[in-house]
């Protein structure tokens, strides 16, 4: 149970780049990926901004080199990001060690289902969307794309999904059930989610402004991001090179409301506190927080209050990177885990874009400039519908 867990590979595709290198450039040059909607077919394409991956489905198909009609945007994004992570880590899934794929998604195949659902009742042409509608589909696509995978499962806990996938991977290694795992999440943009968030009236029509007094809501994004995580034993066996260590994680439930966070951020406080306890760190030893920071009035206030409850008046340097990527739902926590690894590797803190005025109740001010500072530990938060709150702590090697 005391096995240490290392991140040894990262892969990511989102609005800010089709791979980790492109993402790093966008982050360092303060270039947001959020803009006008180009690929999604919706009557709101001129009304809302979104963080779309800058590739069409045909482009994505060419990149995965598979023209199977059963693949959808969710699977393409998942396969590309997971493969990048595997190549980056240098693991060989044929070496006899037990490899798991633990993925997460909320929208799954809905992006394709919504295109054909009504005609399915009249024509037989697209009935195969039934087979790829569910959340497990993209996970099995990753497993088959990589090959020689011993274990697969999928998690869906709304916007905290990928944090829970990362956590589960760590626990399965510590419990001796796996030697290593490819963990993360994926969500392609769909009309279903865009309209869903629109009915909740939490979409900003302009660029989202996390932690700003005048924030209006979130911008949706899309993407996939995966980490290869390995137990110390497996890593040493192949003389692999770690990128960062995962030293804390926790999952708690706000149990307050189906969609809203409690005003005092009770669930968030529990998750952060338990992750800190596990890492044996004092709150003062956290160097940077990558906040959930969606830009909705409710989340950012609740998360700010939870931060003050834990850290008192000495809240560490923090930012939300969602103004770069948009809110990528199930993928958010793994995209932010990749960003956290980049922060630790490069000792670079990526800023909170679009911020001008602190929230009146808390007065917290995020970092607004690219900072080159010593960062040994990063706390990353993810909260979701259903009160799901998860926190992860990463440490520099």
């Amino acid at each position: 149970m005391s096995e240490r867990i290392y991140i040894t590979g990262i892969g990511m595709i989102s609005a800010i780049g089709n791979n980790v290198q492109e993402s790093f450039l966008s982050l360092s040059q303060l270039k947001t990926g959020i803009g006008k909607i180009n690929h999604l077919t919706t009557r709101y394409k001129d009304d809302f901004l979104a963080g779309e991956v800058k590739l069409s489905n045909t482009d994505l198909m060419d990149l995965v080199k598979d023209n199977s009609p059963d693949l959808n945007r969710n699977s393409y994004l998942a396969m590309l990001a997971a493969k990048e992570a595997v190549i980056n880590s240098g693991i060989d899934t044929k070496d006899g060690l037990r490899t798991g794929v633990i993925s997460s998604t909320t929208v799954a195949g809905m992006g394709k289902t919504e295109l054909y659902y009504k005609e399915l009742f009249e024509k037989n042409d697209h009935l195969n969307v039934l087979d790829t509608h569910d959340c497990g589909d993209s996970t099995e696509r990753i497993a088959d794309f990589i090959g020689n995978v011993d274990y697969v499962t999928t998690i869906s806990t709304a916007c905290s999904s990928a944090a829970n996938a990362i956590m589960l991977g760590c626990r399965m290694i510590k419990n001796g059930l796996l030697d290593r795992a490819i963990v993360g999440g994926v969500d392609a943009l769909s009309k279903f989610t865009l309209n869903g968030f629109n009915t909740l009236m939490i979409l900003d029509k302009e660029w989202c402004k996390p932690f700003d007094e005048n924030r209006k809501g979130l911008n949706l994004g899309e993407g996939g991001a995966y980490l290869v995580i390995e137990g110390e034993t497996a890593l040493n066996k192949r003389n692999g090179k770690p990128l960062a260590e995962i030293i804390g994680y926790a999952n708690a439930n706000d149990a307050y409301h189906q969609t809203a966070s409690s005003p005092e951020g009770y669930g968030a406080t529990l998750a952060i506190k338990q992750a800190l306890d596990m890492s044996n760190l004092n709150p003062s030893e956290i160097d940077y927080i990558n906040m959930h920071g969606t830009g909705t009035p409710n989340n950012d206030l609740s998360e700010s209050i939870a931060s003050k409850t834990i850290f008192g008046e000495k809240v560490p340097k923090f930012s939300s990177t969602k103004a770069f990527t948009g809110h990528t739902l199930a993928a958010a926590a793994s995209i932010e885990a990749v960003i956290s690894v980049l922060t630790l590797q490069n000792q670079l803190l990526f800023p909170n874009l679009n911020f001008t005025t602190p929230i009146k109740e808390t007065g917290l001010i995020p970092e607004t400039q690219l900072l080159h500072v010593p960062i040994n530990t990063v706390l990353s938060n993810s909260f979701g519908f259903g009160g799901n709150c998860s926190s992860l702590i990463f440490k520099k090697i």
């Binding site: 099995e140 999928t154 869906s156 419990n175 279903f192 149990a255 189906q258 009770y266 259903g386």
Partner: protein
């Protein structure tokens, strides 16, 4: 090795399982090529103000969770872990159709809010005011097995009481589309269910929750010794060899298994590998089946776990589920050997305490 003790069950299925005393006295046939769950009067289990907004999957989930907790006589749990392949499909479909029919206009949030896969788990957390660990697994035929595996890990990590459940619902439209895609068949009466030579399943649905504890108590009905999933095994020999290894971890061999509950689905292609294994298993253990009573769905293994527990509790193997053998009075170990679409295989070992 850690075990999970089952202290309470709530099972809503196409049979009268909601009545804890029911044990195959009367059997409800499928509605042609699919099964509907026999749903209780929910007002006995759920407050009316909550009930009004809930979709069917949420109602089934919350009611069966309520039954499990009551039977176990516990008030709080250290974790709530749910599994579902398609989540709250009724709400997802309602929002999707409203969106498509009205060109993305005039939508209301309720069905979108309830469409997320973790709705059942979070509704239970809300009702129980449970701030603890809350997870939802959504992986096809591994959705419920992942819950079990997580529960065993949580016990290993020191937790004491855990609520787990598998939930699945279908809608008339979903049934219709699957029928159009030729996924169903009315099982021919001239061949046994487990020797099907034709394609198609009978779809089912339901929700089964279990109150589990790390240590046995006076409510304990049976214990889960282990669970393992197997993704896309190439041959039936692969399955057998993994099964033997799995049993040896618990110091058992196939010969120690009194009843094997096999996940035959009546689809000849999906059942193929189980059909190949059956002659080997029947030399060592009685064999029973269950999807002719529950129907096939992502979390049908949660119904199988209810069944395994009942067999141990009653020490009887009813004729209506028996394929071969007779184990009445001597049921110590029950093995669930499930398959879903011939892709997701799993072993669950349940034992008498």
């Amino acid at each position: 090795m850690v075990k999970a003790y089952i202290n309470g069950i709530g099972c809503i299925s196409p049979q009268n399982t909601i009545d804890d005393n029911w044990f195959f006295e009367s059997i409800t046939p499928p509605a042609g090529d699919y099964f509907n769950a026999l749903e209780p009067s929910y007002k006995d289990y759920i407050a009316p103000n909550l009930l009004r907004r809930m979709g069917r999957a949420i109602k089934m989930g919350v009611a069966s969770a309520n039954l499990a907790i009551k039977q176990a006589e516990i008030e709080s749990v250290d974790a709530i872990v749910t599994g579902t392949g398609l989540g709250c499909f009724e709400d997802s479909e309602r929002f999707l159709l409203a969106l498509l029919n009205n060109d993305e206009q005039f939508l209301t949030p309720t069905s979108f809010i309830q469409s997320t896969h973790n709705t059942v788990g979070s509704q239970i957390a809300l009702i129980m005011k449970c701030h603890n660990y809350n997870f939802t697994y959504v992986h096809r035929g591994f959705s419920f097995e992942s819950c079990l595996q997580d529960a065993m890990m949580l016990f290993n990590e020191g937790k004491e009481n855990i609520l787990i459940g598998g939930i699945e619902e279908h809608t008339p439209n979903f049934v219709e589309l699957n029928r159009r895609a030729n996924k169903f068949q009315i099982v021919p009466t001239n061949t046994p269910f487990w020797e099907s030579t034709t394609k198609g399943i009978q779809m089912g649905e339901g929700s089964t929750f279990f109150a589990l504890s790390k240590n046995p108590n006076n409510k304990s009905l049976a214990c889960i010794e282990g669970v393992q999933t197997l993704y896309k095994p190439k041959t039936s020999n692969d399955i057998l060899s993994k099964l033997n290894t799995f049993l040896s971890l618990h110091n058992l061999t196939l010969n120690d298994i009194d009843v094997t509950l096999m996940g035959f689905s009546s689809d000849s292609e999906f059942d193929n590998k189980l059909q190949e294994i059956k002659p080997i298993i029947e030399k060592e253990s009685s064999i029973a089946y269950f999807k002719h009573l529950s129907g096939e769905f992502h979390t049908a293994s949660s119904f199988a776990l209810w069944l395994a527990t009942k067999l141990i509790e009653k020490q009887a193997l009813p004729k209506s589920i028996t394929i071969t053998g007779n184990s009445n009075g001597s049921i110590k170990h029950v093995l669930i050997l499930n398959q879903y679409l011939g892709i997701n295989y799993s072993f669950t070992l349940v034992s008498k305490i």
